[in-house]
Symmetry: C2
Subunit: 388 residues, 2 copies
């Protein structure tokens, strides 16, 4: 028997309570019973997003919602600015190019974050930029962008601001309305700790005006259709949704608010901090060098010379049941990524660090055995974070 632990930046661990909701027989998606759940989830998402904007639930991965964020608001030939700090910034560029947008890109070293001043300069230089696309937490590196600062800049330009908050949401505070975020994208399988397969997208009034002028064809991801169906009696989705996922989400959202968002953000911060400090104690280097640019969803760790990253994650998974993630894109084989998103407590972090120590030791890497877990425990005590 090998107990299994999923410690990736998505999918994330799911509580037994949520899995049991997920396993319930399905309601019909056009029934008043489902509409009630659908409205509840929508309202709770608004509370999580801190917005009065419309929010739509899409049955797709987060990438589908990123596509919806591009195809619903622009026209072919429109100029958009993508500040790319990793793999998902690159994905925004690919989607935008695919649908005929002209992409201006601000590329940062992977592990770095976007400089809001660069975005301001780009908007000043090219006043016809119609949209600015940025990740909140960049899942591929663990870096976090200063969305508040960027939002504050973009809101005084004609462009709309599109934020991929898929892995950042729930781990860190995000204030859609206060920060002026026109489009915010989230997913079910990250901090929300529900099963994969559903994504969300919020749309501001400013963005709806862009939607009216958009000439890019879309059908499955047509948000005007989603709005139309959400205003029916009872409210519903245009196409059959992932019913059991939405039902699971309802429970997952309740659990977040029971804990309180402030505590949820605090928990993610301390778990990430403990992971960061623990791996440093093992003599490893963090991929995000500037500690102010480290997000609290996932910790990226550089793999030292002489250790094979693939072999390391394989040993952790196969021999010890602990699944963490490797690097994506150009840092594949160079980093490992340890998530602490969602249904994740202090002892999960201890497990992640212990499994890492055991596997590193097997691969001949020299370090003070046990120093990582000891450091994690110290961080919990120091931050007065013992689940009280």
């Amino acid at each position: 028997m090998i107990k299994k632990y999923i410690m990736t930046p998505g999918p994330t661990p799911i509580s037994e309570e949520v899995l049991m909701e997920h396993a319930k027989p399905l309601m019909h998606h056009r029934s008043p019973e489902f509409s009630k759940v659908f409205m509840e989830v929508t309202e709770k998402l608004k509370k999580l997003f801190k917005t009065k904007n419309d929010i739509f639930i899409l049955t797709s991965s987060g990438t589908g919602a990123m596509e919806a964020g591009v195809t619903n608001f622009f026209s072919r030939g429109d100029k958009v600015l993508v500040a790319s700090i990793g793999n998902f910034g690159e994905r925004f560029k690919k989607i935008s190019s695919m649908f005929g947008l002209e992409v201006i890109s601000l590329d940062y070293e992977w592990g770095d974050a976007a400089n809001p001043e660069d975005i301001k300069k780009a908007l000043d230089d090219e006043p016809d930029i119609k949209g600015v696309m940025v990740q909140f937490s960049e899942t591929s590196t663990g870096a976090i962008n200063d969305i508040k600062a960027i939002g504050n800049i973009v809101k005084s330009y004609p462009a709309i601001f599109i934020v991929d908050a898929i892995s950042g949401l729930v781990a860190s505070d995000l204030r859609t309305d206060e920060w002026g975020l026109d489009i915010v994208i989230g997913g079910s399988q990250k901090g929300l700790s529900a099963p994969t397969g559903v994504a969300f997208i919020s749309v501001s009034e400013k963005a709806w005006k862009f939607n009216e002028k958009s000439d890019i064809p879309c059908f499955y991801f047509d948000l005007a259709a989603a709005k139309d169906y959400s205003q029916k009696t009872p409210p519903q989705t245009p196409w059959t949704p992932g019913i059991s996922i939405v039902v699971a989400l309802n429970k997952a959202l309740d659990m977040l608010f029971e804990e309180s968002l402030e505590k949820v953000f605090g928990r993610h911060r301390v778990l990430a901090l403990a992971t960061q400090k623990a791996v440093e104690k093992l003599g490893l280097k963090l991929f995000v060098k500037d500690e102010n640019k480290r997000g609290f969803s996932v910790t990226s760790v550089m793999i030292p010379d002489g250790v094979n990253a693939k072999e390391l994650t394989r040993i952790m998974r196969v021999k010890y049941g602990v699944t963490i993630a490797g690097g994506q894109g150009k840092v594949a084989g160079k980093i490992i990524r340890i998530g602490n998103l969602g249904y994740f407590g202090i002892f999960d972090t201890i497990i992640a660090v212990a499994a890492l120590e055991i596997a590193l030791n097997e691969l001949g890497y020299k370090f003070e055995f046990g120093a990582g877990t000891a450091e994690a425990e110290k961080i919990f005590i120091k931050n007065n974070y013992l689940n009280d």
Copy 2:
């Protein structure tokens, strides 16, 4: 306590065994464990589709897969023929027009099926037609198209043949390769009796040649990307899939093959026949007049004067826990639809008919009380179908 019964043409009842698989903690979608499930499901779907063609699993409703069937294989301005016999035929037209195709439509009365000879004539008249789109079972009416005959015609023309088999699959035999079906679309939530949120699409060699020339942008539904990822080691999906749905599907497919496809088709046929004959005994008229055009997924019943369809389905659902469907599009309020798809046995049909009798009686409709259930039982005996 009101026991709940879902008897719509989707979502359909799900077995406890499948729900329990669905409730398992999630595997990571890039892990060898999930790849194994993903490959198993793909192979089992090929067995169900009776094909050697590629099959891809998409995380979306069936409509998403219909969109994929349009955007991956044509170019703007291409001429396509849609034979429309109901709401989902209309949807093929809308999707095709949205993405810039020129739609030639063959419209039939709702409740009727397409005449293969009309399709032959259209292909002869317009030799530059690039694709023919047809439903297998038209979910909105319960009629079934003769896909074998149409396939036999289309295969000698340059056009590809696209079949929406979402509600027809599992209820009736479909032979993708033998009948020359280039694109076949299915969904998780119909005959397969798994949760909503995943769709499938098969692609023939002939269709791949069209894919190479297609100029319609697509990203989330890009099937060439899906093919690319399916050929990685281990095989995977380009974007995060609905993991718990795919896991549930694996079990649902096992249950189909344990029963044997022949018996599964026989079961759906007898259940549909019993429903048809039972409602006729109540003096009601079937919406599909020609019995050779009636499918075995869903039975559409015309609502007699003096009975309010919406009130009828409301009473059945609210007072007796039995959810059936009303009419869609232009037959809303005029018909009701009783599904018998998936995890559905003879006593489910008895329940559907009994609930219908009780609700009709409450609404003052005059008929021989109990005649429907008696007739259903007789059909089971007559067809030697008592689960032996």
